[in-house]
């Protein structure tokens, strides 16, 4: 049995532990849901299908109904598109920009580093909800604007984080050796710095993802996020908050959905597959 597992592992060349597998499975599940949602929803998202509001779980409405009597299951399934899609796009953009700029600043140093750091610190000082409010009021709300706004809000933090990690790695002798060899900035960043900071950077990615889901729900609550009748998960929680005293499934299930997604993203990122390196080969 063990030998079998070992040979299977050698074939794939990667090894992932149980926690990582569970995380990956849940993330994958939500991604599939997000893609296939229109085929799966039992009722149209905006349609009031029940006379009762905050209805209980039933044969007809698996996860109950919301404050207007709309089907929660349908709303969660469709909400996955917004939450997973917008949050992933925004966090990827924020981390890519932040990490890339952070590494460049750490390696290049000097005036470029100082100017960029101060500028992004200034950006960081603007309250995020306020910033979102101004942008959406000015440009109007659409999904690309939402993604850009969220990315812009979270990029400075990612920059700071990556810059401090890269600055530490930058002083190591192997980077000095690469410099003395005459290597360019791009090579040093890509081959010498990035592989050594990728672990913490990915952990930061996971945390930032959670923050973005929360901020997105905040924006939706203010009517700046996803526009009704659609709603992201955060929006679903907010709009059904009044049902909490009754223990309505309408508020519990979107919360569970958010928790399962954010926790599994972090589980996956903390336990990424590691390549099996055959030392004897």
């Amino acid at each position: 049995m063990k030998a079998l597992a070992a040979s299977a592992r050698r074939r794939t060349g990667f090894h992932i532990n149980t926690v990582g597998t569970i995380g990956a499975a849940i993330v994958l599940f939500w991604i599939v849901i997000a893609i296939c949602a229109p085929l799966l929803v039992p009722y149209p998202v905006g349609k009031i299908v029940d006379f009762d509001f905050f209805g209980p779980m039933s044969q007809k409405f698996w996860l109950g109904t919301d404050y207007l009597g709309r089907d929660i299951l349908s709303r969660i399934l469709m909400g996955a598109r917004y939450t997973v899609g917008i949050a992933f796009a925004a966090v990827s953009l924020a981390c890519f920009v932040g990490v890339a700029l952070g590494m460049i600043a750490a390696v290049v140093g000097g005036f470029f580093d100082t100017a960029l750091s101060r500028f992004l610190d200034a950006l960081n000082a603007i309250p995020s909800l306020m910033f979102g409010l101004v942008v959406v009021a000015g440009v109007g709300s659409s999904i690309p604007v939402l993604i850009m706004t969220l990315a812009l809000i979270y990029a400075p933090g990612s920059y700071r984080f990556a810059r401090s990690l890269a600055a530490n790695t930058n002083t190591m002798d192997f980077v000095t050796v690469a410099r003395a060899r005459g290597e360019g900035t791009v090579y040093i960043i890509r081959e010498e710095i990035l592989p050594n900071i990728i672990g913490p950077v990915l952990a930061d990615f996971g945390l930032r993802f959670v923050f973005i889901v929360l901020l997105l729900s905040g924006l939706s609550f203010l009517g700046l996020g996803v526009q009704p009748p659609n709603a992201d998960w955060g929006g679903l929680v907010r709009e059904n908050l009044a049902g909490l005293p009754y223990g309505a499934p309408a508020v519990i299930f979107p919360s569970i959905a958010i928790a399962s997604l954010t926790i599994s993203v972090n589980m996956l990122i903390d336990n990424l597959p590691t390549r099996i390196r055959d030392r004897s080969a």
Partner: protein, 553 residues
């Protein structure tokens, strides 16, 4: 005379990161008689510090004493409860750590920390403790014994701090002192004062001690008996004289042999003058900090240095910490632009920084750093580390590159199978070989070696030096060899430049180093290198005034 310390059949096990339990000490017996100093000597990983710490009933996190007894004054430290151990520590057994700088709390005055032991154990009133501390400072020949206690740790030098750590250990009048490599981090000139102070204090108080070190010459000055350890087992125990002169065990012989490097046949000075200079450094100055009005940086680490290195020769740069020798290597390799002066390589003046030099110029001069741990990217396998300069300088790719990597590994006497490993999976000596192979991959003319053997064990370092020597003969390389260790320089260099506070004080052929040094600082430095002779420290006479001047900087 009874035994104050008796270690019987001691075994210590450690848990590795992967959860495997390994025995790191495998049944060791050691005894120390009253008033005797026993040295534990061995390479890193031999378990010498682990054994020393068991005297305090302590094991490092993840380690556990699995069997055996550690009797201190007849009481077993292993069987004792933690509360009892705490009572014994500092009163009966005291510990002097390797790095006193890390052991002192920077936010308290030295006096507060030195008398802390007496306060914890309520040995004496604070005033008495202070008076006693001052006496100890005097006994350890510290300057200004009355007032030094009022200073903070960063206000005294490294050698003084090490002696203050000893004072801290001595305040509780322990019966046994444990010294854990107390002089390893010090410069040789400082080491002498510290050793002298320790020796006289131990003799005055007729204390027993365990002295942990990897340096046989240092141990020979202070210990009565030597225990040679390897892989957690005792290899040989004998009187110091016997170990030094008639070693029995094969490993001890190897240790002693590594201490006597084969002296290099000096190059004919006339032949050297005729040969073309591969590297010429003229009036080089460099430093750190903002540039002032005189176009010099605010802190000059290198002042007006001039020397010449003939092709195929080796030049040693020696000096203590802060002498500017590493800065010199950084300036020559273009990592730190000089503020004035010139570097000429093969007859052509080099640009100040890496970006201004051609790839060919960069290829011909390679730099190898001291710590192979930080000089190798921990995330890249050996094959990628060695392959990169091949691709970068020679455009070699694919199968040819693999073959070249194999050849390089063979050149530094490593098996080709190692190329799939990450640096963390290599031993210290193997890492340093890979580090060297990376420089060789460029097919350089000159290699700047920055303390490349300093972090290695004696036996391993000797092997690396031998390799360097062989490579020089095979490939006709030139070396600039930076070191604070004179015996390594002796083994490999034709000429030696002595640096002091950023200036070159003297240049001489290596074979004249012992007899013909002219500058007083070079003489002091050279005479401070411990000799493998038990009476060396007692016989050593040095210019005290100069010593004070050097120590007080």
């Amino acid at each position: 005379m009874g035994n104050i310390v008796e270690i019987r059949d001691l075994a210590v096990a450690a848990k590795t990161d992967s959860g495997r339990v390994v025995d790191i000490i495998k049944g060791v017996d050691i005894e120390v008689a009253e008033g005797e100093v026993v040295a534990l000597i061995g390479e890193s990983g031999s378990g010498k510090t682990t054994i020393a710490l068991t005297l305090l009933g302590y094991t490092r996190p993840g380690c556990r004493i699995t069997r055996g007894k550690v009797l201190v004054a007849g009481r077993d430290m292993v069987a004792m409860s933690e509360a009892e151990r705490q009572h014994v520590r500092g009163q009966q057994v005291a510990y002097v750590p390797q790095s006193a700088a890390a052991a002192f709390d920077p936010s308290q005055t030295i006096m507060e920390q030195v008398v802390e032991v007496s306060r914890i154990h309520q040995l004496m009133p604070p005033e008495d403790a202070r008076r006693k501390a001052v006496d100890l400072f005097r006994a350890l020949s510290l300057p200004n014994p009355e007032t030094i206690g009022a200073r903070y740790p960063h206000q005294v030098s490294g050698g003084q701090l090490q002696r203050l750590a000893a004072a801290m250990a001595l305040i509780g009048d322990p019966e046994v002192m444990v010294f854990d490599e107390p002089t390893t981090a010090l410069d040789v000139t400082t080491q002498i004062e510290v050793l002298r102070a320790f020796k006289s204090v131990i003799a005055d108080r007729n204390m027993a001690g365990i002295y942990v070190s990897h340096d046989l010459a240092v141990v020979a000055q202070i210990a009565d008996r030597i225990v040679v350890l390897k892989g957690g087992e005792v290899q040989e125990v004998a009187e110091t004289e016997k170990i030094v002169h008639t070693p029995q065990h094969a490993y001890t012989k190897e240790l002693i042999a590594a201490f006597h490097p084969v002296e290099r046949a000096p190059a004919d000075p006339r032949a050297m003058a005729q040969r073309n200079a591969i590297l010429e450094v003229k009036n080089l100055s460099a430093g750190y900090g903002p540039t002032g009005s005189d176009s010099q940086p605010s802190f000059l680490a290198l002042k007006d240095v001039t020397f010449r290195l003939a092709a195929g020769e080796s030049l040693g740069i020696i000096g203590e910490s802060g002498s500017g020798k590493s800065t010199l290597a950084r300036v020559i390799s273009g990592l730190l632009p000089q503020s004035s002066g010139s570097v000429t390589f093969e007859g052509r003046e080099l640009a100040k920084s890496v970006s201004g030099r051609s790839r060919e110029e960069l290829r011909k001069m390679q730099i190898v750093f001291q710590l192979a741990d930080t000089a190798l990217n921990p995330n890249r396998p050996v094959r990628a580390i060695l392959g990169r300069p091949l691709t970068f300088y020679h455009g070699v790719r694919g199968r040819q590159r693999e073959a070249e990597v194999d050849r390089l590994l063979d050149m530094v006497r490593l098996p080709a199978a190692l190329k799939h490993r990450l640096p963390s999976e290599l031993s210290g000596g193997q890492k340093q070989r890979v580090n060297l192979a990376r420089a060789l991959a460029a097919k350089p003319e000159l290699i700047l070696c920055d303390e490349i053997t300093s972090a290695l064990d004696t036996v391993v370092a000797a092997a690396i030096l031998k390799l360097l020597d062989e490579l020089q003969r095979e490939l006709g390389l030139s070396y600039m060899f930076i070191s604070h260790d004179l015996s390594t320089v002796e083994a490999i260099c034709d000429e030696v430049v002595v640096m002091y506070q950023g200036e070159k004080v003297e240049e001489m052929p290596t074979n004249r180093m012992k007899s013909g040094a002219e500058h007083p600082y070079s003489r002091l430095l050279i005479s401070s290198v411990p000799q493998l002779d038990t009476n060396w420290l007692d016989r050593l006479e040095q210019d005290n005034e100069l010593m004070q001047a050097v120590a007080g900087r």
